[in-house]
Subunit: 154 residues, 2 copies
DNA sequence: ACGCATACCGATAGACAGTATCAATTAAGC
DNA sequence: GCTTAATTGATACTGTCTATCGGTATGCGT
């Protein structure tokens, strides 16, 4: 049986969630046919507010007023549209973070959890070449680098 | 409440699981103080029998006579002692496969599931250098390459 | 502004992978 | 053989994520 206990939304002209980042992402989504809804704006806003890689559960906790399924769906949509990228911790825990343009990789600090983009590093080409040598045609890859950031170095 | 329904083992001099690979791995474990048990040999034997990366559940299914927890524990032990390595599929499914000496990476065929070792490829050095440039001290990494093997190429 | 079609939402239940418990069992050493 | 600690396995449990599905709001055409 399915619940009929439903929360009424929008009764009280809620303050529209808005900021440069949020508006930008919402616009990107609109261009692809996705609607501009308040729960979705809340998710995006919370994503943008995170300082470092976060888990889906982090978001759920930060958005008690948004349904769990909605948070997960929103996150998935943002990943599919390349607005957010997924990072994998050493223990296989999955985290997310705002994507800063294009495909790239991250270094994750095992101490403080900070992440830094891996720049000046074209592993892709090297990997593709190595794959070729084995008769493989590379179509994708997953790469995470773990270590200590400057601040957490001993 | 905990079950007291316990299976009697060893009543009937079971044929000892033995083969070159199994004996070798069991010996390695013995050297590190781990006991030589039949369930453990069964796990190792099943691991060795797999032709390509397999899941923990695959093993459980292949070993209905071995407890679920035992399979997982055995697998973890083999990973910790570097006898087996873990590979990660694009959908984050975790698989295992016999390790062929030392640290290295794999290419995984998205079609047939085969894996090939990535050789002649020292990404490590490149990654470490790139990390340095960002003030990171690299301590580990996770790398998987996906594509199509020679046989599955169109 | 009004109405419609449908994308979207959220409470809930369920699927799934992996782990914690803990009494019973057994390998290894003396 | 006896002792002791490692190991096992049935089971319960945890945490993450997905499937359902009736109710709801958005975007668009009018
Ligand atoms: Mn990224
Ligand atoms: Mn390997
Ligand atoms: Zn740090
Ligand atoms: Zn293949």
């Amino acid at each position: 049986m399915v619940a009929t206990n439903f929360k009424h939304r929008g009764h009280d002209h809620p303050a529209p969630i808005s900021s440069a980042v949020v508006d930008d992402i919402v616009a990107q989504l609109a261009r692809q046919g996705y609607r501009d809804t308040e729960p979705r704006r809340l998710v995006i806003s919370a994503v943008a507010a995170q300082g470092r890689p976060f888990t889906a559960e982090d978001l759920c906790a930060a958005l008690p007023c948004v349904g769990r399924a909605t948070v997960y769906r929103g996150l998935r949509l943002l990943v599919e549209t390349d607005q957010v990228c997924r990072v994998l911790l050493e223990d296989r825990e999955l985290r997310y973070q705002l994507s800063h343009q294009g495909h790239h990789h991250h270094m994750l600090c095992a101490i403080c959890g900070a992440s830094a983009d891996l720049i000046d590093c074209d592993v892709e080409d090297i990997l593709r070449a190595a794959a070729d040598r084995s008769g493989f045609r590379m179509s994708g890859h997953w790469l995470e680098v773990y270590g200590r950031c400057g601040e957490c170095a001993d």
